[in-house]
């Protein structure tokens, strides 16, 4: 987590500051809130790495021997991944509030549950790849990196939706808008840092775009564990 923190802090304090001098918009004001969401994303993806390690090093055999159902293991991992990501992104949020004073700190309280669901959704994506790559474990990091880069570039984390609309066709713009990272980053900017009143539709958008990922991830991981329990191998 210290390593992740150095990466995200350098984005916040170096990249954002330098880009501010180069861009048409106040990039510092635009990007700093989004770094919190980037941190949440990166920390959530660590869940997949832990699942992959558990498969690789045989720890999963021990977990399956515990008096807990397969679904219980899946839920435990996703909840743990979500909570760990929340703790990590909270520390980033505190630093972001020092760098860029927030106009409505109490909006964060409303956002936190939605960010938690987002974190479990992102952990679910990572768990799905860990389960998928379990037979060819070395490909896990390859899958994860492509998804990470894809989700971040196809979002409004680094650039506004207006820029995307000017360049991309409508279907790609729709994907960018629907991306849960875009919704979370925009919510963080509008409600916490700009001080606009909370819109329930925005919170609902984050929940609705995150829950499918949680379900898919849980199903994929549960299937892999079930196969391991029944056949003894993946």
């Amino acid at each position: 987590m210290a390593v992740l923190l150095s990466l995200n802090l350098s984005d916040m304090l170096v990249v954002a500051l330098v880009y501010k001098n180069m861009m048409r918009i106040d990039y510092m004001k635009y990007f700093v809130p989004a770094v919190v969401v980037m941190g949440l994303f990166a920390a959530s993806l660590d869940t997949g790495r832990r699942i992959w390690l558990a498969f690789r090093e045989g720890v999963v055999q021990y977990e399956l021997s515990l008096p807990i159902s397969t679904n219980g293991i899946v839920i435990a991992y996703l909840l743990a991944g979500g909570l760990a990501a929340m703790v990590y992104s909270s520390s980033l949020l505190l630093i972001a509030m020092i760098v860029l004073p927030a106009q409505a700190i109490w909006s964060v309280v409303m956002l936190l549950p939605c960010l938690f669901v987002l974190a479990t959704g992102l952990a679910g994506i990572s768990a799905a790849f860990a389960a998928l790559a379990s037979t060819r474990g070395e490909f896990f990091f390859a899958y994860q990196q492509i998804v990470q880069v894809g989700l971040l570039t196809l979002s409004t984390v680094p650039y506004p939706i207006d820029v995307v609309k000017n360049v991309f066709p409508p279907f790609l713009t729709a994907i960018v808008s629907a991306n849960p990272l875009s919704q979370a980053a925009d919510a963080m900017r509008k409600f916490t840092f700009a001080g606009n009143p909370i819109e329930l539709s925005a919170l609902l958008g984050i929940l609705l775009s995150s829950i499918p990922f949680t379900i898919v991830g849980a199903l994929a991981y549960s299937t892999a564990l079930h196969r391991l329990r029944v056949k003894g191998k993946l």
């Binding site: 390593v3 150095s6 350098s10 180069m22 861009m23 650039y159 820029v163």
Partner: protein
């Protein structure tokens, strides 16, 4: 020489069957240029007031070159991590037991890193050349040589640091990741030096990537007024490559016997 080539192939073969990692790097590069580079360059002011009059700033081209330099750095870093993995997986004692000298083993590691760099950079570099256009064979050849020279320097630095892993692997990972973050952010990989605040610019002048990326950009036709003096860049890259590779060679011959990765 056949022993050297056989050992390089021994290490390289798992990465080529199948070449998932190599293709993944190409895909990630393509996504970053075609999506991120295109979109972020829409936000950049085309004629910033900090630039000399008449100098345009095409950020997509600037970013493409920076991304290639960043890839060179990451592949060079991977050479050091690869060496640590050898120690961790028990391969290092096997390599040390082979009937080759320590200096030959070091040469094999460096050559393997160079081969990996060549494979990984082929498509991204070709893609970047297409974006830039209007190039000569000499500029392309000089650019390729500079990237390899930078890559060897970074590989030497990471190989030198890899001996920390024999005390603590976690400490090594933390140091290398932190160092990589700082070296990339405090450099001209992503932005010209002119945009960095004074305190950051001082740190950027300590990063080898600043000199590598500015030299590559100069060779590929970027305006010299926004870049560092190429003579200083050549001197720094040469000093880095010679000193770090030399240090790595000495450490390989003196410290590697009987070590275990923690």
């Amino acid at each position: 020489m056949s022993k050297v080539i056989r050992l390089v192939w021994f290490d390289l073969k798992p990465q080529l069957t199948p070449p998932v990692w190599i293709v993944m790097q190409w895909v990630v590069f393509s996504i970053q240029i075609l999506i991120y580079g295109t979109l972020i360059s829409q936000l950049v002011i085309p004629q910033p007031p900090q630039f000399p009059p008449g100098v345009n700033f095409d950020y997509l081209k600037f970013y493409a070159v920076g991304l290639v330099v960043m890839m060179t750095f990451e592949i060079g870093s991977h050479t050091g991590r690869h060496f640590v993995e050898h120690a961790h997986e028990g391969r290092l004692p096997y390599l040390l037991s082979l009937p080759i000298s320590r200096s030959t083993l070091f040469f094999v590691i460096a050559l393997q890193g160079g081969a990996e760099l060549a494979l990984m950079l082929t498509v991204p570099l070709a893609f970047t050349m297409v974006i830039l256009g209007n190039l000569t064979i000499i500029s392309v050849a000089a650019c390729v040589f500079t990237l390899f020279w930078l890559g060897f320097g970074v590989a030497g630095l990471m190989l030198g640091l890899s001996f920390i892993a024999f005390k603590s692997s976690d400490f090594y990972t933390a140091i290398v990741t932190g160092l990589s973050t700082v070296i990339i952010r405090f450099s001209t990989v992503l932005y010209p030096l002119i945009f960095l605040p004074a305190s950051y610019a001082g740190a950027a002048l300590l990063s080898p990537l600043t000199y590598g990326s500015d030299l590559v950009r100069l060779l590929l036709g970027f305006d010299p007024s926004i870049l560092l003096d190429p003579r200083i860049a050549v001197a720094v890259l040469t000093a880095l490559a010679v000193s770090t590779l030399g240090l790595g060679l000495v450490l390989m011959q003196r410290l590697v016997e009987g070590v275990k990765s923690a």
